[in-house]
């Protein structure tokens, strides 16, 4: 497989997420999007790269920083944007918002806002898949901060003990809110934590989408072959503040600048240019198409209806006949 055979598609997918979130930040200033908004800007290579290794039958479980994963998974941008607005046409009918994107059709299981809380859910999905003989993988995305929680350790142990088909994707962006990794972990080589549970684990450059894809393919291949859970530590960086409320005073401008020089979109663009796979015209074409899609999504969200308040109590309990 040529590493960049798929390169233009990867680039386009990353640009699409980047521009979508840039628009979200603007819409937040305009008070169209409210509450907490956690941008994935700088980390797009991970969601995009890992998704290449998944089939439509595989499952995804993510955090509150999940817009990129949702888009990369193929959830309709209109419905994602409408959910950010809180409209009836959104993925959760406006009940979830930016932190709680869910989509059963694409097996996208959130959008979970309690740090570490979704790791056991991922192992549970994998357990059910195995019990019912579905040979699929569950990819679980979480941050470096989640590694400190008990739920992380309980889940990794059980997943390894029971050899569950989970791909643990640790998005190590070096900070959990304002807490630098060195201030949170006695052992900062996070792959070693997974290895201590006898889970194959290794670090990967999370700014290199091709490397991400390659690692994810290797891991999912092994999981599908029955080799149990795998863990990849993707080394990355968030270019923006933790959320729209974070003044971002805990890291130096220089540090942010250094990482920005390894912007995953720039890295891939340069590489593809070098190979002659893209030129200015191609890039402009991508930007134009992406902008049109985002304009359409914002217009869709804007013109969508609010969920009627009469339905407030809908979905508190199941509507299925019991």
């Amino acid at each position: 497989m040529s590493p960049t055979a798929n390169g233009v598609a990867l680039l386009r997918a990353m640009i699409r997420i980047r521009r979508f979130e840039e628009r979200c930040a603007e819409l937040y200033q305009e008070e169209k999007i409210r509450g907490f908004l956690h941008l994935y800007i700088g980390e797009e290579a991970i969601a995009v790269g890992v998704m290449q290794s998944l089939t439509p039958e595989d499952a995804i479980v993510a955090t509150y920083r999940e817009h990129g994963h949702a888009l990369a998974r193929g959830i309709d941008m209109n419905r994602v944007m409408a959910e950010m607005y809180g409209k009836a046409t959104g993925t959760s009918g406006g009940r979830g918002g930016s932190m709680h994107l869910f989509d059963a059709k694409t097996r996208f299981f959130g959008g979970n806002a309690i740090v570490g809380g979704h790791l056991p859910l991922a192992a549970g999905l994998a357990l059910a898949d195995r019990m019912q003989g579905r040979g699929v993988v569950t990819a679980c995305f979480f941050g470096d901060g989640a590694v400190a929680e008990g739920e992380f350790h309980e889940t990794l142990n059980l997943a390894a003990l029971w050899q569950l088909p989970v791909l643990f994707c640790c998005e190590n962006n070096r900070y959990a809110m304002g807490t630098a990794l060195e201030r949170a972990q006695s052992e900062t080589e996070l792959a070693l934590k997974a290895a201590s549970y006898r889970i194959p684990a290794w670090p990967v450059d999370g700014m290199d989408v091709v490397a991400v894809e390659g690692a994810a393919r290797r891991a999912t291949g092994a999981i599908r072959a029955g080799e149990g859970p795998h863990f990849i530590e993707f080394r990355t960086y968030r270019f923006r503040a933790h959320s729209m409320f974070d003044p971002d005073l805990y890291r130096s401008k220089g540090e942010v600048e250094t990482w920005r020089r390894r912007d995953p979109i720039t890295l891939l663009t340069d590489r593809l240019r070098g190979e002659g796979a893209v030129d200015d015209a191609a890039l402009e074409g991508i930007e134009r198409e992406v902008a049109a899609e985002i304009d359409a999504a914002a217009a869709f969200a804007e013109s969508s209806e609010w969920e009627p308040v009469e339905t407030l109590a809908r979905h508190v309990t199941s509507e299925a006949p019991s």
């Binding site: 409210r34 509450g35 907490f36 809180g86 409209k87 959760s92 406006g94 009940r95 979830g96 918002g97 930016s98 932190m99 709680h100 979970n112 806002a113 309690i114 740090v115 570490g116 901060g145 989640a146 400190a148 929680e149 008990g150 739920e151 959990a176 809110m177 304002g178 807490t179 201030r183 949170a184 972990q185 005073l249 805990y250 609010w306 969920e307 308040v309 407030l312 109590a313 508190v316």
Partner: protein, 327 residues
Amino acid sequence: MSTVTYRDALNQALKEEMQRDDRVFLMGEEVGVYQGAYKVSKGLLQEFGEMRVVDTPITELGFAGIGVGAAMVGLRPVIEFMTWNFALLAIDQVVNAAAKLLYMSGGQFNIPIVFRGPNGAALQLSAQHSQAFESWLAHIPGLKVVSPGTPRDAKGLLKSAIRDDNPVVFFEGEMLYNTKGDVPDEEYVIPIGQAELKREGDHCTIVTYGKSALMAVQVADQLEKDGIRVDVVDLRTIRPMDVAAITASVRKTNRAVVLEEGWEVCGVGAQIVDHIQRDCFDDLDAPVIRVHQADVPMPYAKNLERAAKPDVAKTIAAVKKVMYLPD
């Protein structure tokens, strides 16, 4: 008197108690270098250093329990939960350890610890970030549960909580941090377990606490324009509850509305209504009405969230209903 925000009032309480007693220390996520997720601990790391302002990784269960251990041997930890939603991960240590070690040890070990942080809904933070947990913890013998609504009460009660030899659960409000009020310049404490009449009137009683006390005062001010005079009983402490203050008011007004942020079923309001029916049965001119959050996880959408939350209009409607007045 000075005009102080609720946030600064809490900050003053922490600072004064840390100056007064070197056994007091603060521990939690982002309390130090970040100066507090909601800036309640601003400046404390600089004044007291890393030994007494302890940043933790995201490990709620661990640091809550470590606090309990330190309290068993005489330190006086103040444990900050970034919000009470995340304290759910630590509830084992609050309920199974802090609340009952004194009893299980036959009185040998006091647990002088404070668990504090913001509670209840802010604005459009959705279901996992918009929950009020007073009734959960008020259910537990061995805990004291405090929920102040004003800067003055917040400061005076936090000082009492830190000095108390028992575990105290201290509920703040995300939406309260920026609110302002008069705070005495001189040293003072407010005893745990004492309600305060925030407005006086003889037509109807509103019993409430925490953030809802502000709403109740607005309700009283608005109703006063229609000639309706409301007693606002701000409990300030949920456990132990100042039942005498409730009954004194209801015996005067003969009507009561109970207002709380949380859900109805097995809520704090149910306990309040029970005290009223037991002690004021013959005084009541109408059934007590409760105002609370709709029985749903908090939705994100603005219109749904508004419909789910108690508000001034809903509370006014409830007062009119117990007074058999048209809306």
